[in-house]
Structures are given as structure tokens and as C-alpha cells.
């Protein structure tokens, strides 16, 4: 990884001496001192944290490289940390100490746990506009999710929905393709089970993969997206008991249980198992986040994809969004701030590259380019970005949270028949109630 050389010598003799003196001074005086901070701003660079590895990481690093090449005088130090709870813990700790990176990636579903506590700083809309980033360039639903108390706290990079991938060659053999060579729309639970069963007859194993056992989010993604299609109401907010439309939730769970008959869909696949079943042709379809697209495309020459089939009335796909946020800083240097906005805007304008990893660019001008229109199967599910179902906007929800882990465990239990749908719904509500009653630490 070729980094800017200015970052390669973080330790000067001076800082060592400062450290020694600091230690001595503290011991002698018991007072405080300003330690030797080596923030990137001192060297005119912008620190950036993300959680992208593999195909995502490769794309993000190349986007950053393009931005630094095109914006004169901009230097960036990107750091990649482990996805999920380790990343968000470190981000919160660095924000709390005011020595955070200048910008960082955050799942929009996590914003409710960060913005209220003052761990983030709001964007200056004028400065954004100077860089050519305006509200009208984004889908209203996504833009709204980036706000808290009227201030903008995040700039969305993408929407990444949970969708249906399929192997076009196998689907053709199973007679599931329409005249246009794409999947015939699936418009009811029974149609889905029928399609998967026909697919199983072709593969000789099962029809559709879904990896959820011991996973900390998959069951929730499937359930919450389909529940969004039912149009069911829900109340999940601090101050009142959780409620959910029991009949509609039961319909969704019962459908998944029926689908997991061992032929249409295996009941106990874990995440990597589901992926290898799909890429090796043991199944011809998979419910998956679109972030797996690069891996699928590599293994399957004729890959198709559609938004989550509308089986319960309203088109909707579970989704989350990667967005750029500004962690709290102790000292504000206008120059560094401007550089940070340049970087964020620059990356947004590079998101055509990002689409290559499967994500739907949030920045509309990119979605309208001919380059994006030429991407398949990306364009086949791009409409999923228009009706996303996000996590409930409550402080404990979001990607990689204990909330997602707990509801996923319950739902997995219901899907595999370890508990009845009604028992699962009761368990969901009681666990969510416990979280709603827990002290809100933000």
C-alpha cells in the first residue's frame, strides 16, 4: 500500500523527548500537559476511517487515490478497521476524546446512536454546496435519514439493499425467465416457493440459498424487509412499549418456514455455506446483500439480480446506507475542514467505481451516467434504492449492534422451527422492550 511518505515518520526525536519530559513533568508536578499529538491535520492530511475489506476495500482505496490525484494538495491517510462492533466502538472512543479521524464511514442505521450524543459534528451545507453536493442530488428517504434535529450529520455514499440474486443459466433451464431474459416477476409467497422448488429440480439439490445460522444480522434483514412489504405498522421508540402488527409478522415468519422445506431452501445454512452453495451451483438463487456481487460475478458467468420480490403487496427491500460523517474534533482548522469536504465530495463523484462493488450510488448524477447504465446486474436492482426499508431509527438499532444480533437469533430460532412464530414475536417484543427501557446513554 503506497502511502504518502509524510505519514511514514510519525515518530520524531522531538516527540520522544516530549513524551519523556511529559512523563517526568507529570510525576514531578502531578499536573497535566498537552501530549504530543500527531494528528494528520498537522501535516495537512485528512485522516479517514472505513471498514471496507476485500472487493469493497480495493474499490474504496482506488477511489481515494483518484481523488487525491485530481485535487491538488490533498493528502489522505486511510485506515481500515474490522467491520461491526470493533469499528463502532473505536469510532466512539476516538470521538469522545476529540482526536478522531477527520471523516469516517458510518452505516446510516447507526446515526441515531451517535448524533444525539454529540459524537459527531453537523455538516455545513454552504461548504457542501461549494463542493457541488446538494439535497436535490439524493433520494428524499435517504437524505431524511441523514438528519437529526434539522441538521445534516451524514452524507450518503450508497444504498445497499438486501436482494435476490439468481443464476440465469439455471433459471432458464428451470423455466423461470421471461421473454426479456430476466426473471419472471415473483408476486406472492406461493410463487416464490414454486420458483425455488422448480429451481431445486434443476440443481438436484436445493433451489435458493439463505445463510442465517449463527449470523448476527441475516434473519433480521430478511424479516424486516418482508415486513416492510406488508405495510405493517410498528412502534419502536423510547417511551412506549414496542408493538408490531402480529398477524403480518406471523405471515412473514410462516412464509419463511414454509420456504425452508429442505428442497426449496435449506433450513440451516450459515453465511459462508449459503454463498458457496450458490457459487458452486448447488442452488440457483440466493437472498443476499448486494455487497456479495463481486464474489458472485466471479463465479457465475450469467448473473442476474432483482430487488427483493414483492410477495406481500408493497415493493420494498431491506437496506442500509454507507455515509460519511464528521467525528467530533477538539481543534478546528478551517483548512483541514475544507480539505475534508473536498475529499467527501470527491469520493461521491467517484462512486461510479463504487457501483462496481454492487452498491447503488446515493449521488444521483452518477446514477444518470451512461457508465452506470451499462452495469449489469446492478441496473436490474437499482430500483431497490427507491423504496428502502431501514432499521427503526432508535439509538440501539443498526448494523453490527447487539439489537440486530438478538433479534436475528430469535428469528433464526423461528425459521428453523425451534419456536413457534407467536413465541418468536413475543420474544422479539420482550427483548426490544428491555432495550427501550434500558438507560439511553447517548
Amino acid at each position: 500500500m503506497g502511502h504518502d511518505p509524510t505519514f511514514r515518520t510519525p515518530v520524531s526525536r522531538r516527540s520522544i523527548l516530549q513524551g519523556m519530559l511529559g512523563a517526568g513533568g507529570l510525576l514531578a508536578a502531578g499536573g497535566s500537559l498537552a501530549g504530543c499529538s500527531t494528528s494528520a491535520s498537522a501535516s495537512g492530511g485528512v485522516q479517514l476511517w472505513d471498514l471496507f475489506q476485500g472487493a469493497d476495500g480495493v474499490k474504496m482505496r482506488s477511489m481515494i487515490a483518484s481523488v487525491t490525484a485530481s485535487v491538488s494538495g490533498l493528502s489522505v491517510k486511510p485506515v481500515t478497521l474490522a467491520w461491526g462492533s470493533p469499528y463502532y466502538t473505536k469510532l466512539a472512543m476516538s470521538s469522545a476524546s476529540g482526536k478522531a479521524p477527520q471523516t469516517a464511514i458510518m452505516h446510516l442505521s447507526r446515526l441515531a446512536g451517535y448524533a444525539p450524543g454529540g459524537l459527531l459534528e453537523p455538516y455545513d451545507l454552504d461548504l457542501l454546496a461549494e463542493q457541488g453536493i446538494r439535497e436535490e442530488d439524493f433520494a428524499p428517504a435517504v437524505w431524511k435519514s441523514c438528519q437529526y434535529e434539522g441538521e445534516l450529520y451524514a452524507v450518503p455514499l450508497d444504498t445497499h439493499p438486501f436482494i435476490l440474486f439468481y443464476n440465469k443459466d439455471l433459471a432458464k433451464t428451470a423455466g423461470l425467465l421471461g421473454a426479456d431474459g430476466n426473471l419472471t416477476p415473483i408476486e406472492s409467497p406461493d410463487a416464490m416457493i414454486d420458483a425455488a422448488t422448480r429451481m431445486a429440480a434443476v440443481t438436484g439439490a436445493q433451489g435458493i440459498s439463505f445463510g442465517h445460522v449463527t449470523d448476527t444480522g441475516q434473519s433480521w434483514r430478511l424479516f424486516w424487509g418482508l415486513y416492510g412489504q406488508t405495510g405493517g405498522d410498528y412502534t419502536i421508540s423510547v417511551g412506549s412499549p414496542a408493538s408490531i402488527d402480529r398477524d403480518k409478522a406471523r405471515d412473514v415468519i410462516e412464509f419463511v418456514v414454509r420456504l425452508m422445506d429442505g428442497t426449496a431452501m435449506p433450513a440451516t445454512q450459515n453465511y459462508p455455506g449459503a454463498i458457496s452453495a450458490f457459487t458452486s451451483g448447488q442452488t440457483g438463487m440466493i437472498f443476499s446483500g448486494e455487497w456479495e456481487l463481486p464474489a458472485f460475478a466471479e463465479a457465475i458467468p450469467n448473473l442476474g439480480a432483482v430487488p427483493m420480490p414483492t410477495m406481500f403487496g408493497t415493493p420494498a427491500s431491506y437496506a442500509d446506507s454507507h455515509a460519511w460523517v464528521l467525528p467530533r474534533q477538539l481543534d478546528h482548522d478551517p483548512e483541514t475542514t475544507r480539505r475534508t469536504y473536498e475529499l467527501v465530495a470527491g469520493i461521491l463523484k467517484q462512486s461510479g467505481t463504487w457501483a462496481g462493488a454492487g452498491h447503488i450510488p446515493a449521488y444521483a448524477p452518477i446514477r444518470e451516467t451512461p457508465e452506470y447504465a451499462a452495469l449489469t446486474p446492478q441496473t436490474e436492482y437499482a430500483s431497490a434504492g427507491d423504496n428502502p426499508v431501514f432499521d427503526p431509527p432508535v439509538w440501539f438499532a443498526g448494523a453490527g449492534t447487539e439489537f440486530q444480533n438478538q433479534v436475528s437469533q430469535v428469528l433464526t430460532g423461528a425459521f428453523t422451527g425451534a419456536m413457534t412464530p407467536d413465541a418468536a414475536i413475543d420474544s422479539l417484543l420482550s427483548r426490544i422492550d428491555a432495550m427501550l427501557l434500558a438507560p439511553n446513554p447517548t
Partner: protein
């Protein structure tokens, strides 16, 4: 060892109780010297005392205060909240689960880390050729940073092309989900811990064994005692004190387990391997609740003190 070393270093060496005492008379001369040498000694102690007050006593007190507030990582909630955190902790199922895991981990690690380290030290002590090699083999893992030990084992536990599952597949067996199944994950954590930290106890035993005077064995062989008799009537009784000490230190070290679990399984699957310390970290830093995390810390501290006192009692009775 500093007050903040990792669990395997936390077992600092302790001077043996009642071991060969100082040359007789030195105590009284030292006392005399003290009276001769006046009162400037405070300056000797001052640097340590200042650091001690600042980085040990003050955090203990401020943490105690914090445990009575709802202090958040984000800076809010520093008002006095009474015993709310403590009463919440006592009814917190996740905390009880973490405590249960910690106790199970302690039971599963203390036995091999005491028995196996003695057996291996004894085998080396017998005097087979290649001393330095044996010593290095068992002690080397102890010198690895925890992230190195965990990285190596994670790589061996990998599904599909890790060492174990790769060999299983080659031999036509099913794979073993070492880290993704609750009971297996705890077992895997224990195996890694034993491999990584055994060297410390091993070296302690080895130096204790080397201190056994030869003439005891000579007397035994004149009496015609065989190797087993010598082991059970001379070797084991002679290192009894070391064994007691190792058991004590090991129990405390195992109770304080955090990092290898955090790095290997992150407490999963579904909390099945999460230890108390990891729960403190999760509550305080992942969940922002510094006040509640402090309360759990002090409950845990109280438990450790109780366990230590019980151990001291038992030990004193043994050596009496």
C-alpha cells in the same frame, strides 16, 4: 508487572513466603541504620508515591464515584444516581452469563495449566539431553503477543483451508466449526490459552525443581525407593509451596481473562464465551455506559478480593 498488563503477564512473580530468611541480625542492623540515617527517605519514595496516587488510587476512587452515576462516554449523565447501577447489575442476565463463562473458563484452564506444566517441567528436569530446546518449545508461546497467538490459531481453526479442517477434509471427515459453535468455541479458547500461557508456570516449576537438594534423592536411593516413590515422596512434597502459589496466581489470572476471547470469538457465538472483563468493555465502550461498567467492575473486584482471601486462608492452613 504494571497494574495494567495482560492476563498472562499479570501473574507477577511473588517472593515465596517463609523462604530462607535474611541473614540473621540484618533486621536489627537495618533498624539501627534507619535511626542513624534520619528522615530524608521520603524523597526516595516520592516519585513512586506520586505515580501511585495518580494512576492507581485516583482511578480507583473516581471509578467508584462513577459507578454511582450514569456517566456516558459521550459526556452526559454525571449526576449522582444512587445504587441504580448496582441493583441493575445484580439482575442483569448477560452479566450472570459472563460470570458463568468466566468460572467455566477458569475451571477448564487452571487444571491443565497447573498439572500439565508440572508434568512437562518434571520431564525436562529429569535431565534428558537437549535442555535448551525443550525449555524453548514450552516457553516460546508465552513470549508471543496475544494477537500473534490468536492470529496463528485462528488460521489453524479456519474452515476449508485451515490446518485442522484442511486435514479433516483430506481424510474424508466432516469439518469442525471450532469457533462458531458455543461449546466448541469455549474449548478452542481454552486450548489457545493453555498453549499460550503454560510456559510461565512451566518455568516456575522448573526453577523450583532445580532447587531440590540432591542429598534427599541420594538418601532415598539408599533406602531403595524407585522412581515413582521418589516422585511422590520427595519431588512433589518439596515443591508443594510452589504448587500452591501457582494455583493461586493461575485462578486470579484466569478470572481476569479478556483479550484472547475478545480477539478469537469476540465473546460469541451469541455471548457463549464472553468473560466478565469483556462484558465491562462491551458495556462501557461499545455501549457508552461508563457508569454501569464501573459498577460491574467494582462488583467483580469485590468477588476477586473474596476469592483471594479464601485462597490465602486455605494456603496458610496448608503451610501451617
Amino acid at each position: 508487572m504494571s497494574s495494567l498488563t495482560s492476563s498472562n503477564e499479570a501473574q507477577a512473580p511473588v517472593a515465596a513466603r517463609g523462604s530462607s530468611s535474611a541473614p540473621s541480625g540484618s533486621r536489627s542492623t537495618n533498624a539501627r541504620a534507619r535511626s542513624i540515617q534520619g528522615r530524608s527517605g521520603f524523597w526516595f519514595v516520592l516519585p513512586f508515591a506520586a505515580a501511585f496516587a495518580m494512576f492507581l488510587i485516583w482511578p480507583i476512587l473516581s471509578g467508584l464515584w462513577m459507578s454511582f452515576t450514569n456517566q456516558s462516554l459521550t459526556g452526559s449523565g454525571s449526576a449522582f444516581a444512587g445504587f441504580d447501577n448496582y441493583s441493575e447489575a445484580l439482575g442483569d442476565a448477560a452479566l450472570w452469563q459472563a460470570l458463568g463463562n468466566t468460572v467455566i473458563f477458569t475451571l477448564l484452564t487452571v487444571v491443565p495449566l497447573v498439572v500439565l506444566s508440572f508434568v512437562l517441567a518434571y520431564l525436562v528436569y529429569i535431565g534428558l539431553p537437549g535442555q535448551w530446546l525443550w525449555r524453548l518449545s514450552f516457553f516460546a508461546p508465552y513470549l508471543l503477543p496475544v494477537s500473534v497467538a490468536v492470529a496463528i490459531w485462528q488460521w489453524m481453526f479456519q474452515p476449508d483451508f485451515g490446518l485442522f479442517n484442511g486435514l479433516l477434509l483430506r481424510a474424508g471427515f466432516a469439518q469442525i466449526p471450532f469457533l462458531s459453535e458455543a461449546s466448541l468455541a469455549m474449548f478452542s479458547v481454552v486450548v489457545v490459552t493453555v498453549w499460550w500461557t503454560l510456559g510461565f508456570n512451566f518455568l516456575l516449576y522448573l526453577s523450583a525443581l532445580n532447587n531440590i537438594p540432591d542429598h534427599l534423592y541420594e538418601a532415598a536411593s539408599i533406602d531403595g525407593a524407585g522412581p515413582w516413590r521418589r516422585l511422590f515422596s520427595i519431588t512433589i512434597p518439596m515443591i508443594n509451596r510452589t504448587t500452591v502459589m501457582i494455583i493461586m496466581l493461575q485462578i486470579l489470572a484466569s478470572l481476569k481473562v479478556f483479550e484472547q476471547i475478545f480477539l478469537l470469538t469476540n465473546g460469541g457465538p451469541n455471548g457463549a464465551t464472553r468473560s466478565v472483563l469483556e462484558y465491562i468493555y462491551d458495556v462501557g465502550f461499545t455501549g457508552y455506559r461508563l457508569g454501569y461498567a464501573s459498577a460491574i467492575s467494582y462488583l467483580f473486584f469485590a468477588l476477586i478480593i473474596v476469592i483471594s482471601i479464601v485462597q490465602l486462608r486455605v494456603m496458610n492452613r496448608k503451610s501451617a
